[in-house]
């Protein structure tokens, strides 16, 4: 740029102008895209505070003439146990994540740092597992759960996801780069393998654990397929399933209340994302898989 500027005295003005034009174009494109991205959110928040008569008015206005948020949220909360859905979401996602970490971390450490019989086979199975979509085993699992009589329980909602081959894969990769000398030194100090994993290696793997946690919670909080299959009891519904019941119910035609309900259902994860934006984005970058 500066080389060109020296050659042609008129260039700085021209290049500044060109830069201004290109910046305008870039931001126009990005803002147009942003409007498309935000459209349902804006509509949701705006409808949640409008009285029924104003929602589908001919001209869309952001802020209602009559502030109706209290009524909408109140009728949303009284017709459907929305807070219960959120609680179910916390229980299911939390339960899944805790077991996933407890199972995957030692296994990943063993695959990365310990020589034991069957290690190549186990790793091959982990890679095989990575190729199988979560929907594939659902049919036999459903039959088994029906036979065991554990449909409509938290356990049946969580159990298929207790083992995350992806977690094993990710943590193994992370643990492999952990220096062997530190592990050897700990062994010489008489530290057992169990303690080496949980007190020495795990704290250093915090970024990978955080990344996986983000990935796991986002995936299971928003999962509809499996809860829809195993749960028919409204009281056990997770947020997406609850939202589906809610939209199908009578209040489904009360758009204000439905929008208020959608706001409540979406809020926890979106708020978490807004607070921990960098963690979320780092998590997705590191895991990069759905």
């Amino acid at each position: 740029m500066s080389a060109i500027g020296l050659a042609h005295p008129s260039a700085p003005v021209a290049s500044r102008l060109r830069r201004l034009v290109s910046l305008t174009l870039i931001h126009t494109a990005l803002i147009a895209g942003a409007v498309f991205m935000l459209l349902p959110f804006v509509f949701m928040l705006s409808s949640a505070i409008k009285p029924p008569g104003e929602i589908f008015e001919a001209t869309f206005r952001l802020w209602p003439r009559q502030f109706y948020a209290l009524q909408n949220f109140q009728s949303a909360l009284t017709t459907a146990p929305l807070l219960r859905f959120l609680l179910n979401g916390f229980i299911v996602c939390g339960g899944i994540l805790v077991v996933q970490l407890l199972v995957a971390i030692p296994c990943a450490y063993a695959l990365a740092k310990l020589k034991f019989p069957g290690r190549p086979l186990l790793f091959a199975l982990v890679l095989l597992g990575l190729c199988i979509p979560v929907q594939a085993p659902s049919l036999p699992l459903y039959i088994a759960f029906a036979q065991l009589g554990i449909l409509n329980t938290y356990l049946s909602m969580m159990m298929p996801f207790f083992l995350s081959v992806f977690a094993i894969f990710l943590f193994r990769q992370f643990f492999k780069s952990y220096p062997d000398e530190i592990i050897q030194a700990a062994r010489l100090d008489g530290v057992g393998e169990f303690e080496i994993v949980w007190r020495i290696v795990v704290p250093s793997a915090w970024p990978a654990i955080a990344a996986f946690s983000v990935f796991s919670v986002v995936a299971h909080w928003n999962d509809l397929y499996w809860p829809l299959i195993v749960v028919s009891d409204t009281k056990l519904a997770t947020p997406p399933l609850g939202m589906m019941y809610f939209a199908d119910s009578e209040i489904g035609s009360n758009y204000g209340a439905l929008s208020a309900g959608a706001t409540i259902i979406t809020a926890p994860l979106v708020v978490a994302f807004l607070i921990a934006r960098r963690r979320f984005i780092a998590g997705i970058t590191m895991t990069g898989i759905k």
């Binding site: 001209t59 199972v103 030692p106 310990l114 509809l224």
Partner: protein
């Protein structure tokens, strides 16, 4: 462990063997829970799936018989399944190029921003974290034939109403647009990571070579350097798109007139609504066959990609 205190000549041999023992025991102990769960929740169900597909088992039936490949034959001639596969492929054919190219474009535009990058990142990523079921309900309002704001706006600028979800030919493209809306942020983040990994001096070198126009820079540096990321994003997008279920289950239920029936939704109906277990198992195997090539590619790329 107590061997540290032992005389030097004793240290070498026995502790090494002892260490081997400990490693083997600990390794097996650490791996067993994962292995059992893998067997129970993944491998055994897959075997059962293959087994079921050769039977005529229905949930609740006391007896079943082997029927060979009959289920596969039925599936191949089932108009619902053929339609579902065609619709799924059409959806994938829109979402994959759209979801990859748009997010690449957005990532390139956002990448160079300094002050505004954060806000754009948040906006474009927002749909990834929001519950799709809730947002699908909102899209349904927005797209409502005569009351929805989108059709109102179209009418306002003199265009005619578009029956996004009630016209059979428009349903899949509409759902695909929502699918892309949900995916852009996710892919964008991966592309942004890929873009920041490109060394700056490559652009300087391209400048010296006379490639200073943005299009030249893109074709000579960005595109080739992003190759692995693009490949990974494409494969992941394919798998995600092929698994379309949520928007169909909430917004269209496969309609109108079967024009939005997709494979996973057909499996759901056959297996968990009509309880035709053996048939649903067959359909699941067909579903697996479609995704397998891409899942294997994803795993191979992932194996090479995740390095610290």
């Amino acid at each position: 462990m107590t061997a540290i205190a032992a005389p030097p000549d004793m240290v070498a041999a026995p502790p090494a063997r002892r260490q081997q023992w400990i490693e083997q025991l600990a390794g097996l102990g650490f791996a067993t829970p994962a292995f059992l769960l893998l067997l129970l929740t993944n491998l055994a169900p897959l075997a059962a799936l293959a087994f079921l597909s050769f039977t005529n088992y229905e949930l609740g039936a006391l007896d079943f018989a082997f029927v060979g490949l009959k289920n596969f034959g039925t599936a191949l001639h089932d108009p619902v399944i053929r339609r579902s596969i065609a619709n799924t492929l059409l959806y994938v054919a829109i979402v994959v190029p759209g979801g990859v190219l748009i997010s690449l474009f957005v990532a390139i535009l956002i990448h160079r921003r300094t002050r505004t990058r954060g806000i754009y990142e948040v906006i474009y990523f927002l749909p990834v974290t929001s519950t799709l079921i809730a947002m699908a309900t909102m899209w349904q309002f927005l797209l409502h034939p005569n009351l929805g704001p989108i059709n109102r706006a179209l009418k306002l600028i003199g265009l005619s109403e578009v029956p996004f979800l009630s016209e059979p030919r428009l349903v899949i493209p509409t759902l695909a647009a929502i699918g892309i809306w949900q995916l852009i942020g996710f892919n964008m983040v991966l592309f942004l990571a890929g873009l920041s990994a490109i060394p700056r001096d490559l652009y300087e070198a391209a400048d010296i070579d006379g490639a200073s126009h943005p299009v030249d820079r893109f074709l000579k540096v960005t595109w080739p350097m992003l190759g692995p990321t693009t490949m990974f994003v494409t494969v992941t997008t394919f798998i995600t798109a092929f698994k379309i279920f949520d928007t169909v289950a909430v917004m269209t239920h496969g309609g109108p007139m079967g024009s939005s029936e997709v494979l996973l939704y057909a499996i759901y109906l056959e297996g968990f609504q009509y309880f035709h277990m053996s048939y649903a198992a067959t359909l699941t195997l067909i579903f697996l066959a479609f995704t397998l090539v891409f899942s294997v590619m994803q795993t191979v790329v992932l194996d090479r990609r995740v390095h610290y």
